[in-house]
Amino acid sequence: MSRPERRHLLSITDLERDELEDVLRNAEGFEEIGARPIKKVPTLRGRTVVNLFYENSTRTRVSFEIAAKRLSADVVNVAAAASSVAKGESLRDTARTLLAMGADAIVLRHPSAGAPDLLARSVDATVINAGDGAHEHPTQAALDLYTVRRRLGTLEGLRVGIVGDIAHSRVARSVTLGFRRMGASVTVVGPPTMIPLGVSALGCDVSHDLDAVLPTLDVLYLLRLQRERHMEALIPSEREFVALYGVDSRRVEALPDHAVILHPGPMNRGVEISWDAAESGRTLIVDQVSAGVAVRMSLLYHLLGQSPAAEVAS
């Protein structure tokens, strides 16, 4: 008899390439369920998924909730305030309480990088990282991969450009690692102050000249610019950032005809993307959102499909 090891999704790199292939392929099947009159399958019946969100996020939380419910799992939403972290309320203790109430999986969004790793060390439940500080957002990367493949037909050999504050972006990290794992090449674009010193560890190219990169891309991925960044001497002003790295209609025109634009949302219209560019029809933002439920269903199926509590007959 053997017990299967518990699986977590803390980083997109926790999935090997063939596993990511499986997840993306199965997501097509899960997308079909969303088209049925009864949008539910009994696959995870009896399992409990807890959404433990220390940061506000309606979009991601609802996406996970719908995904888990369509798999017939029970869902519990816990909105822990970030202030409870400052008060010293232990993440470990909160998680243990949830486990005692029967949680099989905990989906965690937290402002501290590594909080999901702490959780995975502390409790016997599957931990899914829904965004931890500036570290990673693996489910976002997975749905982005699915969205792009559905539109462009393949991921192998694609050229992806990610623009913005790379150093502080968990989306940038997961998306870079995820696309590379599936055989695409990635170039990160931004001012040097926003590119991490050790960027070579991500396996991507670096450019500071957006206009030079645009005609070479199949996928243009825009990051949200956080409004306070100019306070940290990373850029002189928002206006200057927009001039150098903001995508407007002119820059959209510079993309190859087949190229697509992605954004993790919500958009700062007028900053990283102009109003006209957002309305250009080249963006896949709506597709990204609708892919979110199917891909999260596929990830839950992949991680929870096997129950470590069960014993596998040899």
Binding site: L91, G114, L118, G133, A167, L197, G198, S200, L202
Partner: protein, 431 residues
């Protein structure tokens, strides 16, 4: 009378001789072969064991005065004695900070009461460690604690101007200023800035933050003619700066911690706060440079920066966890495993770095003395080949935050002797 029979006695350099050591009235009475043991003497069979001067740690945090959760002078002294130490220097970032005669005298007195190791309080450089004006260095020096080392450790002295004045004033008592070298405007990171921090999404502290502060202080050293000791050196640039300054004849010394010799920033993948420390664990090129600096004589001392944190404080989200690692009980084991075993240097050099080097900087001529007849009997007896696994629960410290949990170390203390009296016997504290 205590007789250490058949011991391998360190005689300086890489010179070891099999001798018997006779200890009486706080001193080494005899040191030769074939001592006849009188009845009533306490005879310890030391065949296969090395006798060295008791270790001296220039950098420990005993957390007293303080809450007592993390450590006390009593628990810290026990940990020190088990690690082979006969003297430790206690950093002043206590609560309240050690910036006055009253507090340093209290610490010194408490150390004597516990009686397991000589506790030398280090005084703060600035009042309250607030980095604004000088602390009462003269008062602390003239107190019964006779403070000669000063530091704001935990923080650098924030401005060149203030450090210059502190260096000038310290010359009044021939004091040594110990600098926690980190440029104040480049702080705010939680780990070394490099490839690992780029993957983990944690803000990093570049190696240059240490280098800039060291270069600043070396320039001021040249200006003022004072005495400077660099705490917990962690970078190749820092080692190069100290090497060049020594070659130019500047009175600078430096120390390295065992953890900076044994661990790299790779240990932080997985976000375990057990590996969070200041200065941070650096990439392998820096660890290599530190080892070279140990071998070529640039480094004067191994100091643990023993920094206990109770589990409820340490075990939490990485960015909220305090920096610091235990070190007293594992220092020898790490030093032998990381330096002697791979042939970076000999055991004699390690013993020098742990006893004579730091004793010289401390200015205590009763410590770090090569064993010789008439020398004060501050000794440690160690088994340099003993392989042992670190169990955090078995440590004498009140805290558990060792980065070496479960790791195999080489070299273990068997007995420790403070002024002719055994503080540790067969690996256990005697009192």
């Amino acid at each position: 009378m205590i007789v250490l029979k058949g011991a391998t006695v360190w005689q300086g350099g890489e010179d070891f001789r099999t001798l018997d050591v006779v200890v009486e009235d706080e001193r080494i009475a005899e040191l030769r072969e074939g001592v006849a043991t009188p009845s009533g003497a306490d005879v310890l069979d030391c065949s296969g064991a090395v006798v060295a001067p008791g270790f001296v740690d220039l950098h420990v945090h005993l957390r007293e005065p303080g809450s007592g959760d993390d450590e006390t002078i009593a628990t810290g002294s026990a940990a020190a004695a088990l690690g082979g130490y006969t003297a430790v220097c206690a950093m002043p970032n206590t609560d309240p900070p050690a910036d006055s005669a009253a507090v340093v005298e209290m610490i010194h007195r408490r150390g004597r009461e516990v009686g397991l190791v000589d506790v030398h309080p280090i005084g703060a450089i600035t009042a309250g460690r607030a980095g604004e004006r000088l602390a009462a260095m003269g008062e602390m020096h003239r107190s019964s604690a006779r403070v000669r080392l000063f530091s704001d450790d935990g923080d650098p002295v924030p401005t060149a101007h203030l450090m210059r004045r502190a260096m000038e004033y310290a010359r009044t008592f021939d004091a040594v200023l110990i600098e926690h070298a980190e440029d104040p405007s480049m702080r705010g990171g939680h780990m070394h800035e490099g490839e690992v921090s780029a993957l983990l999404g944690l803000p990093g502290i570049p190696a240059e933050a240490e280098e800039i502060c060291i270069l600043r202080d070396l320039a001021l050293l040249k200006l003022t003619g004072s005495r400077l000791h660099i705490a917990h050196l962690s970078t190749s640039q820092g080692a190069a700066a100290v090497r060049a300054a020594k070659a130019a004849g500047l009175p600078v010394t430096c120390e390295v911690t065992p953890h900076h010799l044994a661990l790299t920033d790779d240990a932080l993948r997985g976000f375990d706060p057990a590996f969070k420390v200041a200065p941070p664990l650096r990439s392998s090129e820096h660890v290599k440079a530190l080892k070279e600096a140990v071998a070529d004589g640039t480094v004067d001392a191994i100091a643990t920066d023993h920094a206990p944190h109770a589990p409820h404080r340490k075990d939490r989200e990485f960015d909220h966890a305090p920096c610091g690692m235990l070190g007293l009980e594992t220092a020898l084991g790490v030093a032998v495993a990381e330096l002697v075993e791979p042939g970076i240097c000999g055991l004699g050099r390690v013993l020098e770095l742990m006893s004579t080097g730091p004793a010289r900087i401390l200015g205590d001529d009763a410590q770090g003395r090569t064993p010789a007849p008439g020398a004060p009997a501050n000794l440690t007896v160690l088994d340099p080949t003993s392989v042992w696994t670190v169990d955090p629960a078995a440590l004498a410290s009140a805290s558990r935050n060792t980065p070496f949990a479960g790791r195999k170390l080489v070299g273990r203390v068997v007995h420790t002797m403070l002024r002719g009296r055994l503080t540790v016997r067969d690996g256990e504290v005697t009192r």
